[in-house]
Amino acid sequence: MEPLRQLAKEKLEGKRVIAVMSAKGGVGKSVISSLLAFTLSQRENTSIVDLDIHTMAMSKLFGLEGRLHEVTKNGIEPFSFGNLGVFSLSGVVRDNYVLLPGINQGKVMEGLIAYANIKSSKNVIFDLPPGMGDEILVLERISKYFPIVVTTPSKISTKVVEYLIKYLVNEKRVKPSLIVNMAYFDCNGEIVRPFGEMNGVRSLANEYNVNFFEFPIDPNVEDYVGKIIEYKGSVKVKTDEVVTSLFYSNP
């Protein structure tokens, strides 16, 4: 009998659980996750849990490097930004690298979720590592989640992401939303698509009957690594639209 799983399951009951995922790495998943979480927190208490336990990108985006989570009787306390609580393994291991055999990865993820104090949060966002591994199985054991799949318009990314969409739609019978990150660049009113046209994305969306949202390229995002909640540019504006459309508009 493993107590962590039961605790993790109970903690997520009654909350809106969102998994930001991609079969492909380097598509901007963590930036999208952090902006989604911050945008949701502008409406309701929200937690983001960084399940990418090897790269721990949340600590870099939110400027938390070197800081440790406080631990109280209620568990691991979040790093707070207004109504947003951030949980990252970096707050446990500080600046040490994390190198783990597969089976331990799932246990560490389960521990992070089980001990995180997310009591006051209505929304819990999980930023998953790229690929299709233990993180998906861990989440499935403890919660029903709303999947948001991130890709870029590139052929390789779209083709790789299809594995994940196929799994979610055909096996799990859930309908993910697809975010096409870095889809276009607005060059003084002219739309330029440096990472390719949207043909592959459209055919993927049609085949699996999923909605997709195109996100712009904004090189200024780079200036906000370490203070992502201060970013108000075009990617945040798009995130506001998507959050409203997915979670706060009447059907």
Partner: protein, 144 residues
């Protein structure tokens, strides 16, 4: 302080399993390298059980000394052979010692004493509920 979360997770898991049965005793296993304070753990258990269906339950804790096996060179070793490594981690982190919070992080902080690889697996590295003693229709029954 983490002992409170561990106690809570044990209580919630046992309650979920036991349902209406009266629980008399819970036996748990804890890996030695987690360095949990057993007095605090038992105090937390006894305090929180008052508000649960486990109000008559006693907590027994068994400390497990894990055995490690290196998957790179095949060497099997005990915790004594990596005690200096663990001490180094405790000195770096103090009370917020990572293996106290998450024993499954052990391979990231422990290297094989023979070849230096992190590719080690531990037996008995998790906190587990090993036995629950319940009273059913007047009889006492143990479940493992």
């Amino acid at each position: 302080m983490h002992e409170w979360s561990v106690a809570y997770s044990i209580i919630r898991t046992v309650m979920s399993w036991a349902g209406d049965k009266e629980v008399l005793k819970v036996t748990i296993g804890i890996p030695s390298f987690s360095f949990l304070d057993l007095d605090i753990l038992k105090d937390a258990f006894n305090e929180m059980k008052k508000d649960s269906g486990l109000s008559n339950a006693e907590l027994e804790v068994k400390i497990k000394d894990p055995t490690f096996k290196c998957r790179n060179c095949g060497y099997t070793f005990t915790i004594n052979e990596v005690s200096d490594q663990l001490q180094g981690v405790r000195e770096e982190f103090g009370e917020e010692y990572p293996l106290h919070l998450m024993p499954a992080l052990a391979p990231s902080f422990i290297r094989c004493p023979k070849c230096g690889s992190h590719d080690v697996i531990a037996q008995a590295e998790d906190i587990t509920i090993d036995e629950i003693l319940v009273k059913e229709s007047g009889a006492v029954k143990t479940t493992s």
